[in-house]
Subunit: 236 residues, 2 copies
DNA sequence: TCCAATCATATTGTATACAATAAGATCTCG
DNA sequence: CGAGATCTTATTGTATACAATATGATTGGA
């Protein structure tokens, strides 16, 4: 029935390395060697190279000729740049979603907003992994509802970065409550077709997220210029 | 003194193919064969593949597994998407430029605006190639003056598309005059640090450009869904 | 004659071998 | 002992050979 769907080795390599990056397997600044990755995946360097170049084009790793790729680290400056663009692009997306979203999309948005609330406050501790996953789907759906495929592509590469930095573990209960509240506001604005409201809420929502990201990193461990994740090995 | 600066074959391939795309060497939809390009450039398929994948990540060509790459065509829908994003991103950039641009950048902007005026109206016929080149530098400088490197990356990939479609040949004298006027307005707004003004002018400027692009293509040759350029060969 | 299955061929995908480059180690000379 | 040049080695860059896949032609049957 469903064909074997033979995967290309380069796709396997891409997914695998990308997942490793998101999981914080390598410390920011680590040098990724093509042969190591290839050996581990049981394939040759060729598809690994292809995967690494694609990841470089998404700025998840940095590439320098003859030196290979390094895992990108995210300074406060990077975070500022990314959130500044998210404010513009995602607020525009919210406005367009308010104009174009269909009832099914609105229903799914509401469902996601409720699930996020449950993941945040349904148990004794917030389920950060669940929140991250659901939040990405919520934001992704709004961008998709805007009906601009290129916008989707742009935002995906911007949003996935903070994901690497385990965003939501930085939120305290009050900040989580604010975020949840924004989500319901967005659903209401979009459902009502009120683009101006949707834009305003989204701008505020992203600004609030930006604030959390910057506050924690500067106030935390001193002089930690690069914010990454705790590597499980290969810290270089 | 200056080291030989040995170029990598993949970079040569990238520049060469990219230039060919901008020059309209292949019709939209054409199938680019790795071996052909490799033979022509006197290199192997490996660096050609790398170059093609990079061009695919910039959406200058489309890639499908096992089928290779095709030269992208630009439908009205594509143009709409691209200009919608340019309105948001470049107007934001203009606002930031008004806040952060230094006197040297302002001077260069004014110089470029004057050169564009000369290229448009200095001779008997507008120098479309010159206008395109200068206009790209003008817009690029504003984006650069905004001080957000990621914004530069995003806008570059959006702006280069219309370049492929020979934008300025679509402008009549009145439209050229309007465009030139906008440029001087932008310089004045940015020089005065008036972000609100700069944003407004840039939004209007991009909208006007969008209008020209869409009007010509729908009104011109009938049922021409894909807007490309006249291919010099290999129309497939 | 038309449709379907099979096969041939061109093209992409991957592996591997080799070349070129850069970083580090070692050695030499002051 | 230190600084600099040279050499070694690890890693990336490129070429080429081979495998897998998709497209189109051809053939056989209804």
């Amino acid at each position: 029935m469903n064909r074997p769907e033979r995967l290309r080795a380069s796709d396997v390599a891409y997914s695998s390395i990308r997942q490793g990056l998101a999981a914080g397997r390598w410390a920011p600044g680590s040098h990724l060697r093509e042969s190591e990755l290839a050996a581990e995946l049981g394939i040759s360097r060729t598809p690994v190279r292809e995967a690494l170049r694609k990841l470089a084009s998404e700025q998840l790793v940095s590439f320098e000729p003859h030196l290979g790729v390094r895992v990108s680290g995210w300074s406060n400056h990077d975070i500022e740049e990314i959130f500044a663009l998210r404010v513009e692009l995602e607020s525009y997306a919210a406005g367009q979603a308010a104009r174009h979203a269909n009832p099914a999309q609105v229903a799914e948005l509401r469902e996601l907003a409720e699930k996020i609330e449950k993941a945040a406050f349904g148990g004794l501790e917030p389920d950060y992994v669940g929140i991250t996953e659901l939040n990405n789907r919520f934001h992704g759906l709004i961008v998709a509802a805007a009906g601009n495929q290129r916008l989707v592509n742009l935002v995906v590469t911007l949003v996935e970065i903070p994901l690497v930095v385990r965003t939501f573990a930085r939120f305290d209960r009050q900040e989580l409550a604010r975020s949840v509240s924004h989500h319901f506001d967005l659903v209401e604005a979009i459902e009502g077709g009120n683009a101006d409201w949707a834009v305003a809420v989204m701008r505020a929502h992203i600004h609030a997220g930006r604030q959390v990201m910057l506050r924690r990193s500067t106030g935390g461990e001193a002089s930690e210029k690069m914010m990454g994740v705790t590597p499980s090995r290969n810290a270089d």
